[in-house]
């Protein structure tokens, strides 16, 4: 039964919040036990047939507590538990008491609170309670992002996150209030597809949850928050927290009717997010920002799948929609696993070198082989290369889109451009991660810090290995994960759960296994060959220069130069160039910075204008009593005139 397991998880996490300040070992044990129990409950629901539902007599805010765990929420809960447990283990070594005596205990408490509040977001089934736990979740995340709050940019990132998050929550307040007003109850009883009058509420859902998910124009908070948070926090933010936005969109597009345009808009937003997100990612120099923008891309992929499913739903329940939806749901897991792995790897690099700038790193694979290998595995997965999980889920989305194109309905006009844009995004994702891996791990160290890096310990390596195992597992045996996906799809749309395992998936699994065996064999052969013949080690990037040195290497901006040129219209890079002059040039300079275009060029000026107007209005409040009385008199006279003109008695 999932009930007792969930109760145990709840109790363990609450106890973790209480004891987390003092007893770090007990906290770790409780968190791991709690997340394991939660994972077990999610698996029971995913692999069983029945939803878990609990209506208690206990009321909160005059509403009876109503919890529910169905296929969709269990899917997200499983991801939450995996990343929540792994992050707790990782944090013990990454953010130890020794170096952060003040923030480490705080971090433990907020971690438990964050996992708990996200779990509650996934289980509550009442609009009012949803808003409460949603807010709680936003606040816990804020305190985790600003764990290192002595640094100014961390605080700035935290406030930006909080402001953006609340802007989204405002839309959710409107949504749940309108929903409650129209249905007459805050309770969320389940599917209400037949209520056609509720369909317009979908736009509020998309706006409110879209902010949290980081859909392209609403992603403004995401890069700075992910980059400035401690890495284990970035991992859960990127792996799970932004998925809560996806959860909201999936949940309410499944329960409520959607307007006819919803599929088009979602697929369009998804394709835009995917392409522009990865364009921004490619242009970054800060590797955590690169990972953050890559999350925008992956959210885009998930939304393309969901949008295709919505299109299929509104255009006669087409079969290709099921594939696209399955791809989107599986990508939630895939992205959660490989992005958390990559952020853990990034944290390991940051821990060892103290810098996030790729142009100051290089050559780390010698000193950090484990991190390098695991980061490379994550990079392969995120690039959507077989035989890993990223390929499986993206491939399902592609299959859905291709079938939509060949079915020649009106949906083909959405599916074709989306498929093309996804393909471009995929290619650029590969380039981005080739750049990240090469800049950080290959070549020669560019600075002293990079040269003196050290490998992370077992406490950080173990969670990374676990997540890498998930990535490989989904890649090699997608069949094993199919029942869970099918169950979630069935919860989303009742008719869609009966689908048998699609034949391509079976074939894909065996191809992947064969491919993996081949790759392993090739690697073993290369290893043997290199070691029997002996290796000649030389300076990397030694391209015939007389005295090569590390600064001759490509830096991230030069690596990305051409592609960021294609996207100059949106990236708006700021350049400072001093070209070499004369026969014996003494100095030359080229600085390039990619701004947060949406934030700095759109939101920033608009907010500044609003602030100017507000400041002008604020001059009315000057503290002179006489003028205040004048305002009152003027108001009274105006009211009198209004009454006289209006002819009221």
């Amino acid at each position: 039964m999932p009930g007792p397991l969930l109760l145990f998880a709840f109790a363990a996490l609450v106890t973790g919040i209480v004891v987390g300040v003092r007893m770090s070992r007990l906290w770790l044990a409780l968190t791991v036990a709690g997340t394991t129990a939660g994972f077990g409950a999610a698996l029971m629901v995913l692999l069983g047939a029945a939803d878990w539902e609990w209506r208690s007599g206990f009321s909160l805010g005059d509403e009876l507590v109503h919890l529910r765990l169905d296929g969709v929420s269990a899917l997200f809960l499983a991801l939450l538990c995996v990343v929540g447990g792994a992050g707790a283990v990782y944090a013990r070594e990454y953010w130890p008491e020794k170096h952060y005596p003040a923030s480490a205990p705080r971090g433990r408490v907020w971690w438990s609170a964050l996992v708990l509040s996200m779990g509650l977001v996934l289980t509550v089934s009442n609009g009012l309670h949803f808003l409460i736990v949603w807010e709680l979740f936003a606040i816990c995340a804020f305190f985790l992002i600003t764990l290192d709050r002595q640094r100014r940019e961390v605080r700035a990132a935290g406030w930006l996150y909080l402001a953006a998050s609340h802007a989204g929550t405002m839309a959710l307040f409107a949504f749940f209030s309108l929903l409650a007003a129209r249905t007459g109850s805050w309770d969320l009883p389940g599917p209400m597809r037949e209520r056609a009058d509720l369909s317009s509420l979908f736009w509020l859902v998309l706006a409110g949850f879209g902010v949290k998910a980081g859909v392209f124009p609403l992603h403004i908070w995401l890069p700075s928050a992910h980059a400035n948070a401690p890495s284990h926090v970035s991992a859960i933010m990127s792996g799970v927290a932004i998925k809560m936005g996806i959860y909201g969109i999936v949940r309410f597009s499944g329960w409520l009717p959607v307007p006819a345009a919803a599929g088009w808009v979602v697929i369009g937003l998804g394709a835009t997010s995917a392409l522009l997100g990865i364009a921004f990612a490619f242009a970054q120099n800060d590797f955590k920002r690169l990972l953050a923008y890559c999350s925008v891309e992956n959210i885009g992929i998930i939304l393309v799948g969901l949008g295709a499913a919505l299109l299929a739903l509104t255009h006669g329940d087409a079969v290709w929609g099921r594939l696209a939806l399955a791809g989107a749901l599986l990508h939630v897991w895939s992205h959660g696993a490989f992005k958390a792995l990559l952020f853990f790897g990034a944290g390991s690099v940051l821990h060892a070198t103290g810098t996030r700038e790729m142009s100051r790193l290089g050559g780390l694979w010698r000193t950090m082989p484990w991190t390098a290998g695991l980061f490379a595995l994550g990079s392969l997965a995120v690039s959507g290369l077989p035989p890993l999980n990223g390929f499986v889920s993206e491939w399902l989305v592609y299959l859905g889109l291709f079938d939509a194109v060949t079915s020649k309905g009106p949906s083909a006009w959405a599916a074709l451009p989306a498929a093309i844009m996804l393909a471009m995004a995929g290619a650029m994702a590969m380039a981005s991660f080739a750049k990240a891996s090469a800049m950080i791990f290959l070549g020669a160290p560019r600075t002293q810090a990079a040269a003196h890096a050290h490998e992370c310990g077992m406490g950080m390596r173990a969670p990374m290995l676990m997540l890498a195992g998930v990535c490989v597992g989904i890649g090699l045996a997608p069949i094993l994960f199919w029942p869970a996906i099918r169950r979630a799809a069935g919860s989303w749309c009742p008719g869609w759960g009966a689908e048998e395992t699609p034949a391509p998936l079976v074939a894909l699994g065996s191809v992947h296994v064969a491919l993996a065996v081949l790759i392993l064999a090739a690697a073993a052969w290369l290893w043997r060959k290199a070691h029997t013949n002996g290796l000649r080690r030389g300076m990397t990037w030694d391209c015939g220069y007389a005295t090569p040195y590390a600064r001759m290497q490509y830096v991230s901006a030069s690596f990305a130069g051409i592609v960021s040129g294609w996207f100059r219209w949106i990236l708006q890079p700021e350049r400072k160039i001093r070209r070499p002059r004369g026969h014996f040039p003494e100095e030359a300079l080229r600085l390039e910075r990619v701004p947060e275009t949406v934030l700095e060029r759109i939101i920033g000026p608009v907010s500044a204008a609003i602030m100017r107007v507000s400041t002008t209005v604020r001059q009315l409040q000057h503290g002179r009593l006489q003028f205040y009385i004048l305002y009152v008199v003027a108001g009274l006279i105006a009211l009198g005139v209004l009454v006289l003109l209006g002819g009221a008695p």
Partner: protein
């Protein structure tokens, strides 16, 4: 007969309004206010009564004592304590205040004509007098900088409200009337204390210097 006397008294009160607006010295301002208070106190007795009502006499007495003696006395004490005699540099100086007050009085009379009044009130100056006094009070509140002048403005404003209240003297319970009176007395008392404190803390009664307290 009493209607004519009442109008005369109200006319006098309106004249005192103008005097209050035109006087630069605080003692004469306070004198004008106290005289107006006494005039107002007499008025309930002049209204036509079918039967003798002891409550009306009580209201009249309390008003005369309160507005004519107690409050002006408090103000004079505050004035002596703060050692100010004269309103310096008002926001609206005396001649413009007088003009505004005169214009307001004319407007009040004109406005009262246009109002749908009960026939027994139409002949009296009660309504125009009330509006004119309130306007005068506002002009003083807006145009003067010293806290004591503002208290006087507040009192004249209250007198205007009192004049309106006379329209309803038979229907307003005594308790309400005395409650208002008590309110005003306490208000002035508190302001007197505050004036004293402001004087001690800032060495000035100029409310323009208090703008930093706005947050």
């Amino acid at each position: 007969m009493s209607g004519g006397t009442l109008n005369l008294f109200i006319g006098l009160a309106m004249g005192l309004n103008l005097l209050a607006l035109g006087s630069s010295r605080l003692p004469s301002l306070i004198r004008a206010v106290s005289l107006q208070g006494v005039l107002l106190g007499v008025m309930p007795l002049l209204l036509e009564h079918d039967t003798f009502d002891w409550r009306v006499v009580l209201v009249a007495l309390a008003t005369m004592v309160g507005k004519g003696l107690v409050i002006p006395g408090l103000l004079r004490r505050a004035m002596r304590a703060a050692n100010v005699e004269r309103e310096m540099a008002p926001f609206i100086s005396y001649v413009p205040s007088l003009l505004l007050g005169a214009g307001g009085t004319i407007a009040a009379v004109a406005l009262a004509r246009g109002l749908p009044l009960l026939p027994e009130h139409a002949g009296t100056l009660l309504v125009p007098g009330a509006i004119a006094s309130m306007l005068t009070g506002f002009i003083l509140l807006i145009g003067r900088a010293k806290a004591i002048s503002q208290v006087c403005g507040y009192l004249i404003l209250e007198n205007g409200i009192y004049l309106f209240g006379l329209l309803l003297i038979h229907s307003t319970p005594l308790l309400v009337e005395s409650g208002i009176l008590l309110d005003v007395t306490v208000g002035v008392f508190v302001i007197g204390i505050i004036v004293d404190r402001i004087q001690r803390a800032f060495d000035s009664l100029d409310t323009r210097k208090l703008t930093t307290l706005r947050e």
